[in-house]
Each structure stands twice: as structure tokens, then as C-alpha cells.
Symmetry: C2
DNA sequence: ATCGTGTTTGTTATAATATAATGTCTTTGG
DNA sequence: CCAAAGACATTATATTATAACAAACACGAT
């Protein structure tokens, strides 16, 4: 069984985040080229906004930023771009927050599990195949064939734990 | 470690569902009495509607039913009742569907995992402490202290598997 | 180059989900 | 009964998401 991986770790306040963004955009560019998907300017910009901080981003906040860019933008603008990014495996949706985070392992298919800090909203993405498989197995015992999993854990990250 | 339990199994089309409802209402009545919570007529009715089928129920569908009852009802009516039932541990919210299901193990505190059929919407609730603990443990390794878990699996139930 | 086709984006409107704020009525304990 | 807290009604509004259709654009085939 593949080993557990941390796809997106918790990030400290001070790290070279421009690098996080550049890397994510470069990986997205490459992933889209490989799959013959169009990584348009709009989609690139939305992905950049999703990655603008290591916290889940709301659709309407992204929309506000697009408008601030001077671009003509309405809800469909952002929801369509997000749909594309979701389908392309470049972002994940956090169901319990109606928000979106950048995927830490685009290209490599995986089922992510998300850790979300109640206090500072920081998000980490991990891929623990043992859990995925245990759930699939438990489901199977009830005759249920699982195809997607939503796993979102809330709590306190290490920094917020200390200060709490 | 406690054994895995099925809190709400998948239900066949033909079972004595009135009995499911009566049982859920009786358990709720008892749980509320124990905790000195007021199980009012409105809350009872909303719980009854949540249990009306073994599928996640939407707030506005419940609202429609309340109106059909002849009762004065607006969104806050149903959301307040649902908040009460959530807090009292009598229903769970399915985050990925913005919908609500009756809890299969009220009183006994637990962290449920939900299996949801894409086809017929049937929901089962299980309690697999091994998974809960594995997730908590994985989180801990990242310095994260987990307090709540949202686990929602989508797929096909056994009946829909056959007919698919 | 130009056409035809499918994709992407713009635009307007509306649907679906959820909460804020305020006042009234009801329950409950003293 | 009375006071206080809790529950409910009512109105308004905030938040999240999609429908429907038109215009602009990308791209391969001629
Ligand atoms: Zn960063
Ligand atoms: Zn934190
Ligand atoms: Zn039943
Ligand atoms: Zn089914």
C-alpha cells in the first residue's frame, strides 16, 4: 500500500509564498498541456487567487478580486472557472465551508483528506491510503460501492494550539 | 477499541418505516427528557419530517411540509429547529448535500460516517472508531488537534449496484 | 485566408441556502 | 402571580449557486 503523504503541509506565517503560487501555476500549466485542456488567462488567475493564501477561498471573494482586476466578472465567471479547476484536479472543494483550496498533488490522482484550523483557517491536505481503503472496505461490507470520499477534519493547528 | 457499528443500515423499499419513525421520535423524547431539553411540537414535527424517508432532507422541503401542515413557517422556523436537533445530537447535517438525516445513535455520543447512494439517495450511518482514531492520529502527527470530522462517502448502494 | 464548429466568456436573471434583527408568546421556576 | 428565559413569528437580507442565451474566441479542415 502506498505510504501516507502530506500533500500540503501547514504553512508558517513567514515562508516564501510567492514560490508556492509560482509552483502551483507551473504545475497546473503542465498538467493542462498534458491533458489538452485550455489553461486560459481567467482560469490561471482564478487558480492564483485560490492559492493566494493557505486557507479555503470563497467563490464570491474570488469574484471580488476579479472585479478589482478590472475584469468583467459575474458569478458564472468564477463558478465556471472553479468547475474547470475542480475537474482538472487542480483545486478541491471544502464542502463544509463552501470554499476552495489548491490541490497539493495535481496530476497524481489521489483522494485527499483535509485538516482545517478553526482559528486561523489554515488547511493541510494529506493522502492516507490506509484510511481511504478502510472506508471503502467498510462500505463494501454493506454492499456499497464507494466512488468518492469527502473527509474534512476541523480542529486547531499547532500554532493555534499553543496560543489557545 | 469499540467495535464498528452500523447505526443506520440501508433500508429496503419495503420495511415498516412507521416503526423507524416511531422509534426515532421515542428515543428523541427520552434523550431530551434526560438532558432537560424541550422537545416541542415543532421540533418533534421537524424530526419526524427528517425521518420521513431514509434520504437526506433539505431545509426548504421541510419548510414546505410545515407550511402544508397549515403552520406559520418561514426559514428561521426550520433552521432553528434543525439547529436544536443538531445540537441535541438527534440529526446530522450532510455537508456535501446541504441536507439533514436522522441520527441512528442519539444519546450515545459518536462520530458518524455516512454512505450516500448517488442513485437513490439512500443513506447509511456507520461508526467506525478505527477510522476516527486513525484520522485523529494522522492529524496529531502534524501537530493538529482534531475535534470534529466530516466523512461522507458517495457511491452506489447494493440495490442500485444491481440495477446499474 | 476562410469557414464551420465547438469552447470559452459575458450578461442578465433567478434559484437555493442561510442568517440578522426585532417583537410576541409560552414555559418554567420562585 | 411574576420575572426571566426560552421558543416562535415575522420581515428583511445575506450568501451561495445555476439557468439561459448571446458574443467572442480558438482551432482544425478546407
Ligand atoms: Zn505558501
Ligand atoms: Zn491555526
Ligand atoms: Zn425506515
Ligand atoms: Zn441506491
Amino acid at each position: 500500500m502506498p505510504k501516507k503523504r502530506v500533500l500540503v503541509p501547514f504553512k508558517t506565517g513567514s515562508h516564501d509564498h510567492d514560490r508556492c503560487i509560482d509552483l502551483a501555476l507551473a504545475e497546473a500549466e503542465s498538467a493542462c498541456r498534458k491533458q489538452h485542456l485550455r489553461f486560459t488567462e481567467l482560469r490561471r488567475r482564478v487558480l492564483e487567487l485560490v492559492w493566494s493564501r493557505h486557507i479555503p477561498m470563497k467563490a464570491y471573494d474570488i469574484l471580488d478580486e476579479l472585479c478589482r482586476d478590472g475584469r468583467a466578472a459575474a458569478p458564472p465567471t468564477v463558478y465556471r472557472a472553479l468547475d474547470f479547476l475542480l475537474t482538472a484536479g487542480l483545486v478541491h472543494r471544502i464542502e463544509s465551508l463552501n470554499a476552495y483550496v489548491g490541490c497539493g498533488g495535481p496530476g497524481k490522482p489521489h483522494i485527499g483528506q483535509f485538516l482545517i484550523c478553526r482559528q486561523c483557517n489554515a488547511v493541510a491536505e494529506i493522502d492516507a491510503p490506509a484510511i481511504t481503503q478502510a472506508l471503502t472496505q467498510d462500505a463494501k461490507r454493506l454492499g456499497f460501492r464507494a466512488d468518492t470520499q469527502t473527509i474534512e477534519i476541523k480542529g486547531l493547528c499547532s500554532e493555534c494550539n499553543v496560543s489557545a
